[in-house]
Symmetry: C2
Subunit: 207 residues, 2 copies
DNA sequence: CCTACCGATCGGTAGG
DNA sequence: CCTACCGATCGGTAGG
């Protein structure tokens, strides 16, 4: 028997649940998560699991929140030390790719997967993801602005276009890793990003 | 009462089921499809629905097969008339983007969504998707080879890298349409592709 | 955090 | 292609 535990222990259990949910959700999707499966995996009862959140949706939101926090701590977090502009942005994408590639257990980017999963399902989960993605876009945009101001990029750079293309590369890396198990995914991603950031919208020839 | 119908009628019903499944599956995912929901939507019984396929997985496979067939008829299909190489490849991507963008009802590319959904779930569905994607990659690779041979691209072009980047752009278009409802998604995609195919791996400066 | 339980829905079958 | 039904599992609650 393990009846009501201390606040500290309860918080630790909550963390364990979210941790496990991040792993299971990466495989079966966030919607494919079930309280029963989660409980069995953790050696707990269903009531013990859901008691920490109230509803399945609240659990899902807690999982997404945790994923957002980890992404932020890791990707923009590790780029903080770099000089604003291209250097910081390169560092951030480098970090994102490393984050997606390194861990044999947690491969790919959870947020990216969930973003695709909920792209057609309105609701609070989709809203949280949209907010997180908008913040990331703002971040990338701000660094590109910085780069233009510092003269690292041409004054007529189409910044939203670059944001779009950089996002596409991250998606390509994710697919290459998860779907194709392509060991060169990280390299291809880095090369593509370097190419875009070094020679953007070459207005050299043509109109 | 609508008891056993003719072979023709049965085939028509089967098509109706798949058509509806393509719509529902685009929203809730292929795994989120339920026979009960499908039956209610079509005004049939569950047994009437599943009877055409046997199992849910067989139904899902039929849906994926149909999606693959539509993609092929539409995208490489409409590029058949174009000259091999860059012209045909541009036409194909142009067609893909149009296909994702045009229809208010069926937005995005079903196969792309399902590819993400099953990227971590081994089984026959994933296998079919992998095969379809491999065929598409081969197609793109062949046209790029053609382009190099014809002198449309530099002899030292890194073809797998281009395939990777072109795929990323398609993914970016899909996300911009479905998640962000970005009306400029198609334009951004076209511009990105034009940029890659016109000035690939600019070996001009540097080592 | 557990046992015991709820109504609803799941995929699927029997039989016509 | 339907009715009627099956065991299993879903999310969630009551009560301790």
């Amino acid at each position: 028997m393990s009846p009501r535990k201390s606040v500290v222990e309860a918080a630790a259990t909550r963390t364990r649940i979210i941790e496990r949910a991040l792993t299971l959700g990466a495989v079966n999707g966030l919607e494919g998560l079930t309280i029963g499966h989660l409980a069995t995996d953790l050696g707990m009862s269903k009531a013990g699991v859901i008691g920490h959140f109230g509803t399945k949706e609240a659990l899902q939101l807690a999982v997404v929140d945790e994923a957002v926090e980890r992404f932020r701590a890791r990707v923009p977090g590790h780029a903080l030390g770099a000089r604003p502009g291209l250097e910081r942005l390169s560092r951030a994408f480098e970090e994102w790719i490393a984050y997606m590639t390194e861990d044999e257990e947690h491969r790919g980017c959870f947020l990216t997967s969930v973003a695709m999963e909920y792209d057609e399902r309105p609701g609070p989960i989709r809203d949280v993801i949209l907010t997180a993605l908008a913040r990331w876009s703002d971040y990338v945009t701000a660094e590109l602005d910085e780069a233009v101001t510092a003269g690292e990029l041409p004054r007529d750079t189409d910044i939203p276009q670059l944001v779009f293309e950089l996002g596409g590369i991250a998606l390509a890396v994710q697919q290459a890793i998860l779907l194709n198990h392509d060991p060169s995914a990280a390299d291809r991603g880095r090369r593509a990003i370097r190419r875009i950031l070094n020679k953007p919208t070459p207005q050299v020839l043509g109109s």
